[in-house]
């Protein structure tokens, strides 16, 4: 076996060799998150439920957003949004926080952001339990099309991986990204139809434009359409989603690939 250090390191051989590491890191994160908490894993379900209670009280009852079954409407969108925001913000600092490891052992560096994405994906499935609970309480019957839900989740996952690779690499060079991203996420959340319906923006053409350009909007709407409205998006919508996912992934992967060779000098 010959290895020209780093340059021609065989990508797929590496991938196979480090699969167990990926798995172990995800389970490590999981263990550490819930170790010594009395309710443990139950928090993964309780957390979105409590968030939902707060939001429905404020936006449903006080500000009276007009959507049928607002609690369900919110938590379905929140599930996708939370997956995106949690994965990307955790990935952001993943390279920096793994510095001790990266400095000492050769490990393909994409493992670290990828691990955070997978960890959030696991969390997403726990959020789905909360979604089911809310639907049961509100008496919302899931549409038949619900079984297709893995499709938007897959689109979103690919997009999230790309964004995470990009962000984790950018943070190594400019630590400001950590602070900026928090603000960016807040803005992006309000530009995603989670707590309001798209129709609300009918009169504000400009804002609507931006909201429609936001990739997360497409994943949220796709997912919610399948679960609540028995609606399967057409070919065009699917192509838009795929294009955005693959586009983001390519950008992220290329930037990361180019940046990673110098990581060690900056962490």
């Amino acid at each position: 076996m010959e290895k020209d250090n780093l340059n021609k390191a065989n990508f797929f051989a590496d991938m196979k060799k480090f699969m167990p590491l990926l798995k172990n890191l995800v389970s490590k994160d999981f263990k550490i998150k819930y170790r010594r908490s009395a309710l443990g894993v139950a928090w993964s379900v309780l957390n979105p439920l409590f968030t939902m209670l707060v939001i429905t009280t404020v936006f449903g009852k006080l500000l009276r957003i007009q959507v049928e079954n607002f609690a369900t409407y919110y938590i379905v969108g929140f599930a996708i949004w939370n997956f995106f925001s949690e994965a990307t913000s955790n990935s952001l600092s993943s390279i920096l926080s793994s510095a001790p490891l990266i400095k000492k052992v050769y490990i393909p560096k994409y493992i670290f952001p990828l691990e955070k994405c997978l960890f959030s994906l696991v969390n997403f499935f726990f959020t789905l339990i909360a979604v089911v609970i809310v639907m049961l309480v509100q008496g919302v019957v899931p549409s038949v099309t619900s079984i297709l839900f893995p499709i938007p989740v897959l689109y979103c996952f690919v997009f999230v991986c790309g964004a995470s690779l990009f962000l984790s690499a950018a943070t190594v060079y400019f630590r400001d990204v950590q602070h900026l991203y928090g603000i960016f996420l807040t803005a992006l959340m309000y530009l995603t139809p989670i707590i309001y319906p798209l129709e609300l923006l009918k009169e504000y053409k400009f804002v609507l434009r931006i909201v429609e350009l936001n990739p997360i909007t497409h994943y949220v709407e796709y997912f919610r359409g399948l679960i609540m409205y028995n609606h399967i998006p057409g070919v065009k919508e699917n192509l838009i989603c795929i294009a955005m996912s693959i586009g983001m992934f390519l950008i992220g992967a290329l930037v990361f690939k180019k940046a990673q060779r110098k990581f060690i000098l900056h962490i």
Partner: protein
């Protein structure tokens, strides 16, 4: 496949020693506009070429900051040389600063699996070798204790046991034998000796000249990033010792 385990050809490693590290966009642009972005080039390893034969035990000596660790990191693939090529043939087990892959909140048992996968072992392989690792480290009673409660010597025992559970083609040892009590140090040296007999190529960095003399066949002496002397371990060590007086 040649007879060499490691080949270094005209290897150079430059570090960008900007006096203060720029870590924010604002700073970067401010300095860019003010044209204050000057870097000082620091050459840690300068035009170094050598081969290490298969089955050799190779030592690297030199004062602090002479490029020993940088050279090791390039061999193990952590750092990429600025110029020149580093080729390695075979699997590499790095023993550079033990315990890199540990999470102190996890128990030793969990850490053995985590650290094993950091080194690229499969779960099946660790399952098979688990007992070996525990026996060698002698940590039977403390397996299910979080490692933050371990002493540094205990951590080193676990780490050494995991890293040496395979017989790699190339073993890289960086100053690690300094930890642990003398009994454990003896045990480590025995294991390294067993590997040497097993045709493993061993590369050792140490400040203990006696250790290098005892273990190594060949040796390189680095000074300020350049090769000062290379050859038979005894000769190089003698010359190195004499220069220090």
């Amino acid at each position: 496949m040649g007879e060499n385990a490691v080949e270094l050809r005209n290897v150079e490693m430059h570090f960008n020693m900007s006096k203060e590290k720029l870590e924010s966009l604002k700073e970067y642009f401010l300095k860019l506009v003010k044209r204050q972005l000057h870097y000082e080039d620091f050459v840690a390893v300068d035009n170094v070429s050598f081969d290490i034969k298969k089955g050799d035990v190779f030592g690297i000596v030199g004062l602090n900051g002479c490029g020993k660790s940088t050279t090791l990191k390039m061999i193990s693939g952590i750092l990429e040389p600025t110029k020149g090529t580093v080729r390695t043939y075979g699997t590499i087990a790095p023993l550079i600063e033990l315990g890199a892959g540990f999470d102190m909140d996890l128990t030793a048992r969990e850490n053995i699996y985590l650290n094993g996968s950091v080194l690229g072992y499969s779960k099946k392989f660790i399952d098979e070798k688990f007992q070996d690792i525990v026996d060698f480290s002698e940590m039977h009673e403390f397996l299910d204790v979080p490692m933050k409660n371990y002493s540094s010597g205990m951590v080193a025992r676990i780490a050494f046991a995991i890293a040496t559970v395979t017989t790699p083609d190339i073993l890289i040892v960086d100053e690690i034998l300094a930890v642990g009590d003398f009994l454990f140090q003896q045990k480590c040296e025995e294991r390294i000796n067993a590997m040497i007999n097993d045709d493993t190529t061993v590369i050792i960095v140490s400040h203990s000249i006696e250790q290098i003399e005892r273990l190594c066949k060949h040796c390189v002496w680095l000074e300020k990033g350049k090769i000062k002397m290379i050859g038979d371990a005894m000769e190089v060590c003698n010359a190195y010792k004499n220069s220090q007086r």
